[in-house]
């Protein structure tokens, strides 16, 4: 009861136990590890976009705080992009110069096309 808890001793005991494992148990452990690795790789292959983000932004290793900032910035970015696209769309709609120049140079007088 008075024995003191020593992490080193626990570690040594675990190592000793590991060396005493029989071959079938070790084989099962290897198999389980192999399956886990395959599953992990399959998950990453299924979502290349997330893999790209992880690779280029280091997002996978960020803290919760940084993740929140990331998402706020991402939402702002998307909002800005949508606004920008809407403006450009409007600007494109407003560009009537092709038709205007054709009307202004047409051999028919303008009043033919104008409701009086």
């Amino acid at each position: 009861m008075n024995r003191q808890f020593r992490p080193e001793a626990v570690k040594q005991m675990l190592n000793r136990s590991l060396s005493q494992l029989d071959e079938p148990t070790l084989a099962k452990l290897r198999e389980a590890r192999s399956q886990a690795l395959e599953c992990y790789q399959a998950q990453h292959a299924m979502n290349p976009a997330l893999a790209w983000i992880s690779a280029h932004t280091g997002w996978h290793s960020s803290s919760h705080h940084h993740k929140r900032h990331f998402w706020i910035a991402a939402v702002l970015l998307v909002a800005c992009l949508i606004t920008g696209i809407a403006y450009w769309q409007q600007a494109t709609d407003n560009d009537t110069s092709d038709v205007d120049i054709e009307i202004l140079t047409d051999d028919m007088p303008i009043h033919v096309y104008v409701d009086q």
């Binding site: 407003n94 110069s97 092709d98 205007d100 009043h111």
Partner: protein, 135 residues
């Protein structure tokens, strides 16, 4: 690296959002280029009073002006003032009519044009203004 990438993307998005607004702002006559002034010279006196959208559209016309033939340039100058005096609704309707007329078969279009030419000639002969200025 993550923050820098996001900063660049955010700056790009803000630029995209603000640039068209800047383009749509009113441009005083004094700030136009010599080429734009030459193209829009019939409107020099009233340019500063025109709405933003109309200025923006007329600048689009001015951009294409240098590529026109001398005859087309003269025609644009003759018509520009009357065109700018139309209401926005009249101009929109005229654009629609013009687009619709372009879809008419060429031979029918020629017949209509010939008819209009005859009417104009008759009006000119009878002393009626050939192309009444629309209001």
């Amino acid at each position: 690296m993550r923050i820098r990438l996001l900063q660049y993307l955010a700056a790009f998005a803000v630029t995209m959002a603000l640039a068209p607004a800047a383009l749509a702002a009113v441009k005083p006559w004094a700030t136009l280029t010599p080429t734009q002034k030459e193209a829009l010279s019939p409107l020099a006196g009233q340019w500063d009073t025109l709405p933003e959208l109309q200025q923006h559209r007329l600048l689009g016309v001015a951009k294409k002006y240098p590529k026109l033939t001398p005859e087309q340039k003269e025609r644009v100058h003759k018509r520009l003032e009357a065109w700018s005096k139309l209401t926005p609704e009249q101009r929109d309707r005229a654009r629609e009519k013009y687009k619709a007329f372009k879809k008419v078969p060429p031979d029918t279009r020629e017949q209509v044009k010939e008819m209009v030419r005859q009417q104009e000639a008759e009006k000119a002969a009878s002393g009626v203004p050939a192309a009444p200025a629309p209001h």
